[in-house]
């Protein structure tokens, strides 16, 4: 039944008597009637009055009911306008023609009020249903458009936060969909103040905005902390804490973070839940897996979270490959996954001068075929550069000379608990770069501090034997021993800074003292002057001597002083 405002019904019939009768019947059912005397008139009346239901005689002068029905349906567009054909069409082909023209029902003569009432109300219900469906469809598509708009905005924000960082450097090849953040994939790369390359690959659970929201704090933490000189362990711990506090239950982020130091020939990695990464030692044709030993980020509380990283030695030309599960789970037509074995085999077959990246990418796409390709494939390859290719310190923006007093002293001592749980370098770096003149050399100073700190901690306090690092197996053992010794550590470590201005230039004296028993430095220095080929230990000291004006040991060998000097000229 028509609601508050009656539905309009068009009655098109050329016999005046039949038209009068039909109009009277329709009107008596509560509808508003619009009349037309032939097909042309029907189309015109339809345009003018937009009736909701149309009753059409089949045979009419000027334009018959079939043509009129076609035009009216076309005119109605998406709107559902039921058309009832009048006069019982006897022949099957006439019936078919009416249906093809858009007839939704038929009404024979003599007109019967009861039958017409039933047909009208059935079609009216159908029309309402259609209108509701259309409204809902439009609403869904509006919601969808809104969602897309939101995603675009979110992506624009994310792109600003995440930018490409160091991803565009020539040693990095990567594949990631521009909308990957909505698949939950995040790829970030940055250099720390000492010029070490940090690469983080993350895979958030979920899709859409839920997957994307976590990417922003992750990117901020990654860039902010690597820029301030925090190590990989500090970064994943902070990311775990932040994501744990932020993400809803059941949401987390599988992630791997790798820090590459080409000067020391090491990578330090942490993998929580991501498919094992690959270190391919191109020269030795050896593939080492960077396995996940941890739970993903955002699951465990800070107290239980394990930020222990692993260290592996690398050589120039080695390849580091990280991927999300999109690659290993990529399926072909028969549903077979690409898998780890195929991946590893392709990497192993790569010749030293080739890129495993290209081979992997092509193999995965070939495996999936044209049909299965989706945007879920994220892959990154880092080629270990030779030390000569990488500046020791990341370039620092020159700053205007701040003037003021730059003659100062600072002493900073760490007890055993601090040494076990925190890394003093970001704080010291922060203090040092507060002085405009030193800020220009922030990268170099950071490298010097890093070396002094690790020497004093690992050799002075923890008594680790650096000759262990001469073999690859010993290399791993060295870092295991370091973790063990750190737990039982007792003692202190002190940094003393003294800054002197000399015109536009100046000197920064850094003394690092540890509470350990010291060592026979005269022998060590002699060894340094005649280095043996392929020696791992002593690299740190040699680096210090390159960067500083002088390096000298004091006391029983538990005290080392370096002098970092700079002149007034920029550079």
């Amino acid at each position: 039944m028509p609601a508050a405002s009656p539905a309009r019904v068009l009655v098109a019939e050329d016999n005046r008597a039949d038209r009068l009768l039909l109009s009277a019947i329709v009107r008596s059912e509560g509808y508003h009637v619009v009349e037309a005397v032939d097909g042309c008139d029907a189309v015109e009346q339809f345009r003018t009055h937009r009736p909701h239901i149309v009753l059409l005689d089949a045979l009419m002068p000027r334009m018959d009911g079939f043509e009129a029905a076609r035009r009216i349906k076309a005119e109605a567009g998406e709107r559902f306008v039921p058309v009832i054909f009048l006069s019982a069409l006897g022949a099957d082909d006439a019936l078919l023609a009416a249906v093809e023209a858009g007839a939704d029902d038929f009404l024979g003569k003599p007109y019967n009020q009861v039958i017409l009432r039933a047909k009208l109300s059935a079609l009216e219900r159908l029309r309402m249903l259609h209108a509701t469906m259309q409204r809902q469809r439009d609403e869904i598509s509006r919601h969808h458009a809104h969602l897309v708009q939101e995603q675009e905005a979110a992506k624009a924000i994310f792109d600003k936060v995440a930018h490409t960082g160091s991803l565009d450097e020539p040693c990095i090849r990567y594949l990631i969909s521009p909308l990957a953040v909505f698949n939950g994939d995040v790829l970030l790369a940055a250099r720390n103040p000492a010029g070490n390359l940090y690469v983080l690959l993350g895979d958030f659970t979920g899709h859409g905005l839920t997957a994307a929201v976590g990417a922003m704090p992750l990117a901020e933490i990654f860039y902010g902390m690597s820029n301030k000189g925090f190590g990989p362990g500090d970064i994943v711990r902070e990311a775990n804490r932040k994501l744990g506090a932020m993400l809803p239950k059941g949401y987390f982020c599988c992630a791997a973070l790798v820090a590459l130091n080409v000067h020391k020939g090491t990578i330090e990695f942490w993998n929580g839940g991501l498919p094992s990464g690959c270190l391919f030692r191109a020269g030795r044709r050896e593939l080492v897996h960077l396995e996940s030993h941890h739970l993903p980020l955002g699951i465990q509380g800070d107290a239980r979270f394990d930020s222990t990283t692993r260290v592996l030695e690398v050589e120039p030309g080695d390849r580091l490959i990280l991927c999300t599960d999109g690659i290993v789970e990529a399926r072909n037509d028969t549903g077979e996954a690409f898998g780890y074995e195929r991946r590893d085999e392709i990497i192993r077959r790569t010749r030293p001068e080739e890129s495993a990246f290209d081979a992997l990418k092509h193999a995965v796409y070939a495996h999936m075929g044209a049909s299965g390709r989706d945007d879920d494939i994220t892959l990154v390859e880092v080629t270990v550069a030779s030390p000569q290719q990488v500046p020791i310190a990341a370039p620092v923006q020159p700053v205007e000379n701040g003037g003021g007093s730059e003659e100062w002293r600072l002493s900073y001592e760490l007890g055993p608990r601090s040494l076990r749980s925190s890394n003093p370098l970001p704080l010291l770096q922060h203090v040092v770069t507060e002085f405009p003149q030193l800020r220009r050399h922030a990268g170099t100073i950071f490298t010097v501090l890093t070396e002094l700190y690790s020497n004093a901690l690992e050799h002075g306090l923890l008594r680790l034997d650096s000759s262990l690092k001469s073999s690859a197996a010993g290399f791993a053992e060295y870092y295991r021993a370091r973790s063990r010794a750190l737990v039982e550590l007792d003692g202190f470590l002190r940094f003393d800074f003294r800054c002197e201005m000399d015109g536009a230039g100046g000197r920064l004296y850094i003394t690092v003292t540890d509470s350990g028993p010291g060592f026979d430095y005269s022998a060590k220095l002699a060894e340094l002057d005649a280095p043996r080929e392929g020696e791992y230990h002593g690299r740190g000291l040699r680096l210090l001597r390159e960067l500083c004006q002088s390096v000298s040991f004091r006391g029983r060998g538990n005290e080392v002083e370096v002098v970092f000097a700079w002149s007034g000229e920029h550079g």
């Binding site: 050329d14 016999n15 008597a17 009068l20 009277a24 003569k109 003599p110 009020q113």
Partner: protein, 114 residues
């Protein structure tokens, strides 16, 4: 003379149309005269399609006023216009014309009753 019009149907129409009932019967008289004229013209000019359409229209309006016998004859004519030659149609048209005349008389009588 057999009953030309369906009384019950006509009564229903009257109830529905109220004051418009007389106008409805007037319209029927006009329409049917025009259609019959069309049928005669079409027969003369040999336009079978026009004849068929006019017979179809006459059938519909006859049914609507309850002239069942006329409607049946019109349907015969409509079918014949499709199936048989022009020559066979003459007698059928005459029968339709005669039946229509009786129906019209009955309709006029109906009008005068009220």
């Amino acid at each position: 003379m057999a009953e030309r019009l369906d009384r019950a149907l006509l009564e229903e129409r009257r109830m529905l149309m109220n004051d418009g009932f007389a106008a409805l019967l007037d319209a029927y008289l006009d329409d049917s005269e025009r259609r019959m004229g069309e049928i005669g013209d079409a027969l003369e000019s040999g336009d079978l399609e026009r004849l068929r359409r006019a017979a179809h229209a006459l059938k519909g309006s006859a049914a609507n006023v309850g002239a069942e016998a006329l409607a049946v004859l019109c349907e015969e004519l409509e079918d014949a216009a499709e199936a048989t030659g022009l020559d066979a149609l003459g007698p059928l048209v005459d029968r339709v014309r005669a039946e229509l005349r009786d129906v019209r008389d009955a309709v006029v009588a109906e009008q005068q009753k009220h």
